[in-house]
């Protein structure tokens, strides 16, 4: 039976609370494997594990519950070991590295912040700030929308203006929040947000960060800011060196 691994904790970690379910259907009970001064939060792995909603949620849920009971290094979804012994071997082989990571991330949580423009608001800004855009827009409107070339020209100018604001606003988000966190890492590229950043901070000191986001949102109604957290520090764990 292969073993699904959720995360790595210190040897004295109590494990997630009773009744927290792991991946699979029916859900596998979550167990704790100990080796040396470390522990791994694991469960039996179902025969055919796929990235399904239920299993993604289970992964996140186990890590959130275990993380609340003590520092846990979250593994990426879908990490499967041949058996329990291989897991224990990993804990023994890279013990020093993982203990260092656990010290660094002790009591820390991640907040992920994303933002997009509210289109109408940002267009309004672009038009208001650029005389050329304003003149073109007025001319197009006066001639019932303008020729194909006219519309293309206006659209391109506006697109450039919006892009410039994306860059500007991404920096503004970062500048407003970075001082309130210990560390930051970019979120995965791909999602189409103008900014996608993860911040690391102490679990017991998140209020100033969350308040700063709220203030920033109020001061920038042309942005739609979304914050997710507290999360296990997914974006701040570092793999063990290849030949440690």
């Amino acid at each position: 039976m292969s073993t699904y691994v959720y995360g790595i904790a210190r040897g004295d970690h109590p494990g997630p609370p009773e009744g927290v379910n792991g991946v699979g259907d029916p859900p596998a009970p979550v167990r704790t494997l100990r080796a040396g001064e470390l522990a791994a939060v694991v469960s039996d792995c179902p025969g055919q594990l796929r990235p399904k909603r239920r299993d993604l949620l289970a992964h996140q849920h186990v890590l959130a519950e275990a993380g609340a009971a003590g520092s846990v290094l979250p593994l990426r979804f879908g990490s499967v070991s041949e058996d329990d012994d291989v897991v224990r071997g990993v804990l023994e082989d890279h013990g020093e590295h993982y203990r260092g990571q656990l010290d660094r991330l002790d009591g820390r949580v991640e907040y992920n912040v994303k933002a997009v423009h509210r289109e109408e608001e940002v267009l309004r800004q672009v038009v208001a700030d650029d005389a050329e855009v304003r003149a073109l827009q007025a001319a197009n409107k006066a001639s019932g929308g303008g020729s194909y070339q006219d519309r293309l020209r206006l659209g391109e100018l506006v697109a450039n203006g919006v892009r410039a604001r994306e860059v500007h606003d991404a920096k503004a988000v970062e500048a407003a929040l970075a001082p309130l966190s210990e560390q930051q890492n970019p979120g995965p590229e791909s999602a189409g947000w103008l900014v996608n950043l993860s911040f690391l901070m102490r679990r017991d000191a998140t209020a100033p960060f969350v308040n700063a986001i709220e203030e920033f949102q109020q001061a920038n109604p042309h942005l739609e800011v979304q914050v997710t957290g507290p999360l296990p520090p997914y974006s701040f764990v570092e793999p063990a060196p290849a030949h440690a």
């Binding site: 399904k52 909603r53 996140q60 593994l75 289109e119 659209g155 986001i213 997710t228």
Partner: protein
Amino acid sequence: MTVVAAQQQGGSGGGSSGLYDVLELILDRGLVIDAFVRVSLVGIEILKIDVRVVVASVDTYLRFAEACNRLDLEAGPRKNPGLPDLVGEMTESGARGKSKGALSGAAETLSDAFKQGASSSGSSREEERESEPAPRKPRRTTTARRKEESE
């Protein structure tokens, strides 16, 4: 601002709130250990496609020009939308299909990725239904943005 409390309470293990917002982190961040095998994410790799927020394309330019012509500069921001502009809305959906660029793309990309993941991996109907995570969230987001666009 949307605050998503990712920490789920209780031991039920249910509830889909926040899954969409942490999906990319669960799938793309977190510790990778060489000695472990990773479950195949075939179909979900589409998440890695780089979607630029504003796509430089003729479709995008025309869409922006159209949106600008509909802007009422006299009105302040956050105007009550009133009756939707039906023609505008139809044009909008047409453009979405083609360019799928710009601001509304993000949630759809995730949702498309998941549907693909489901269809390539689901073998029974029940599985396919289960593998669509939190369909409420992206739909709501898309509706909200479309409403803004047609204001």
